[in-house]
Amino acid sequence: MNVLHFLIKDIFQKKMRMLLTICGISIGVCVCIVMLGIGESIKASFKDAYGKRQIEIIIEQKDQLSILLSRLDSSLAQEVRKIPAIEDASATLLYLHKLKGSAVPVFGWEPDSFLFDVIELTQGRRPVLGKREVIVGEAFMRSLAEEQEKQIKIKEVLFNVVGVFKSSSPFEQFAVVMPLADLQSTIGEAGRASFINVRLRPAYRSEAMIAKTIRELEGSFPSVTSMRADAFISEKTKFIVMGEQFSFLVSLITIIAVALGLANTMVTSSFEKRKFLAILLALGWQKVEIALLFLGESLVVALIGGGIGIILGFKGTAYIFSMTNINAFVPTLSIIFILKIVGLILGSAIFAAIVPTWITLNSNPVEVIRGE
C-alpha cells in the first residue's frame, strides 16, 4: 500500500467534480500544445531537413524574400565544389505543386546528390533521369494509397511513383522527389535551382571556418547570398517566431486559467475535509506533510489531466496540419517541448497546492475540530 492508493481513492470521492477538473486541464493543455506545437513542428521540420545532412551553408538568390521565389543557376554547384573547404554541394529546385487542394513540395535533386544519402528507400528504387519517375515520402504515399494511385500529374506531365522513402525530416515525409533536370524541364525552368546545399569537410566545420567559407563564397559569387544553415532556418521561420509569441501569450493565459481552476478544486476539497486535516495535525502530522498531501493530490489530478491533454494536443496538431493546404509538415513534438509542457503542468499543480496548504496551515486545528 502506498500514498498513491490513498490519493487516488480520496481524489475520486467526488467523481464528477474531479472529472470536470481533469477535463478542464486536458483542454487547457491541449490548447497550449496545439498553439505552441504548430510552430515547434514546423521549425523541427526545417531543422531536421538540414541538420541530419550536415548542411552548414545554404546559397540562395540575393535579396529574395521567399525560398520559393529564389532562383539561381544550378551549375553554380559545380563551381562551389571547387572550393577546398567544401566537401560537397547540391543544387535543389523546390516547387509547390497543388494536389487535391493541398500544396505538396516537389524537390528536384541532382541524381548523385548527397541529399539521397539520408533518406531511406523503403520500397522501390531511385528515379532515373529522363524516365518521368519520382519517389515519394511515406506520409505522401499513404495519401496516394487511399486512391490506388501510383502516378502523379505535375504540370500535365504524368510521373510514375517508383519508390517510397522514409526521411528523418518530417518536412520531406509529404514531399515528392525527382531528378533535378526532370523538374527543371517540367516546370519550364531549365538550368535553374532554388538554392544550393553546402556540406563542409569535417576539418572546416568549426564556427570560425564556416564564417570564413561564407566570406569566401560571397567573394567568389557576388550575385548570391550564402548563409549558415541555422541562420537560414531562423530567417525562413521568422513568421513562425512571430506566431509563436502570440501563441505563447494565449498559452500562458490558458495555463493560468488551468492553474486557477485546479486551485479552486483543491481549495473546495480542502474545505470539505478541513476537519479531517485538523485531525491529521492532531495525530502528529507536520505542516510539511500536509503541504505534501495537497501537492500529491494536485499533482495526480494535474498529471492525469495533463497526460490526456498532451495526447489530445498531439492529435489536435495533427488534425490542424491535415486541414491546412501545406502538407509538408507533420506534428513533431520534441522531448524538450513536451518537458516544457509538463513543467507548466507541474507549475500549475504546485500553485494549486499552495493555496489550500496556506489556508489549512493558517487555520487553528482546535477551532476546526470544535467546529468554531
Partner: protein, 227 residues
C-alpha cells in the same frame, strides 16, 4: 483510588491558565495537577468548563496563556516539534470519529501513516493486530459508512493505538454513542489501560466514567477540583 500515585508522572501542570481574548474568558484558571504513568483519569465538567482546552494544551495543539507543563518531567517548552511529540507519544480519540466514510476500516487506520509514502507490511500487520485486539479484524475491509457508531469509535481507538502511544487523550469519546456502546467503549479504554499500561485522559459528561477511571477530576469554570 489512584493506583499509579507513586509512579513517574506523564503530565504535570503548574498554575496553568488559558485566556481566550476573543470572548474575554478564562478557560483554565491556575490548574495544577499531575497524571502518573499508567493512570486513567476521567475529566468531567459542564460544557465550556475548559476540560477539552486542557486536553488540547497537553497535546500541544493550544498554547497556554501562562503556567508550566511538564511531559515526563521535561518542561513542555523544550519540546520543539510538537507534531512529532504527538506522533510518538499521544493517541487522540474524538467524539465525531472523523473517519473517511468510503474508505475501509484498514484504510482509515492507515491513512494517518500516509506521510511515510510507502506503508510497510509491518505497519499493516500492526494495524491488523490492533483490529484483532479490538475484535474488528473481520471488518477490516468493510467501508466505514456501513459500521455502527460503536464500531466506528472502535476504529478510532484502533487508529489511536497504531503508534502504540504512551498516552491516549479522548475528547468526549462516548458523546455520540448510546449507553450500551458507551459502556463498551469505556470498558475498552479500561482494558487498554490495564493491558498496555497506556495512560488515559478521558474528557466526558458521562457519569459511567467513575466505574472505569482510576480517578475523576472536575473542571468547573476553569478551576480543577479533585474527586
Amino acid at each position: 483510588m489512584n493506583k499509579a500515585a507513586n509512579q513517574k508522572s506523564v503530565f504535570r501542570t503548574v498554575n496553568l491558565r488559558k485566556f481566550y481574548p476573543q470572548t474575554q474568558t478564562f478557560a483554565l484558571r491556575d490548574v495544577s495537577f499531575s497524571v502518573a504513568k499508567g493512570d486513567f483519569v476521567g475529566i468531567k465538567g459542564p460544557s465550556g468548563s475548559g476540560k477539552s482546552t486542557l486536553l488540547y494544551i497537553l497535546a500541544g495543539l493550544l498554547e497556554p496563556s501562562s503556567g508550566e507543563i511538564y511531559f515526563q518531567d521535561k518542561p513542555f517548552e523544550t519540546i520543539k516539534n510538537k507534531s512529532l511529540y504527538r506522533r510518538k507519544n499521544i493517541g487522540f480519540v474524538f467524539q465525531d470519529f472523523y473517519l473517511y466514510p468510503r474508505f475501509s476500516v484498514l484504510e482509515n487506520m492507515l491513512f494517518p501513516c500516509m506521510h511515510q509514502f510507502f506503508i510497510s507490511g509491518a505497519t499493516i500487520k500492526k494495524a491488523e493486530r490492533q483490529l484483532e485486539y479490538l475484535h474488528m479484524r473481520d471488518k477490516k475491509n468493510m467501508r466505514v459508512e456501513v459500521l455502527s457508531a460503536g464500531e466506528r469509535q472502535r476504529v478510532c481507538i484502533a487508529r489511536a493505538l497504531l503508534y502504540e502511544p504512551q498516552c491516549i487523550l479522548a475528547d468526549e469519546p462516548t458523546g455520540n454513542l448510546d449507553s450500551e456502546n458507551a459502556r463498551n467503549t469505556l470498558s475498552l479504554f479500561r482494558k487498554i489501560n490495564e493491558e498496555h499500561k497506556t495512560t488515559i485522559l478521558l474528557v466526558t459528561h458521562d457519569d459511567m466514567i467513575s466505574d472505569y477511571a482510576h480517578r475523576i477530576v472536575r473542571i468547573i469554570d476553569g478551576n480543577l477540583h479533585n474527586g
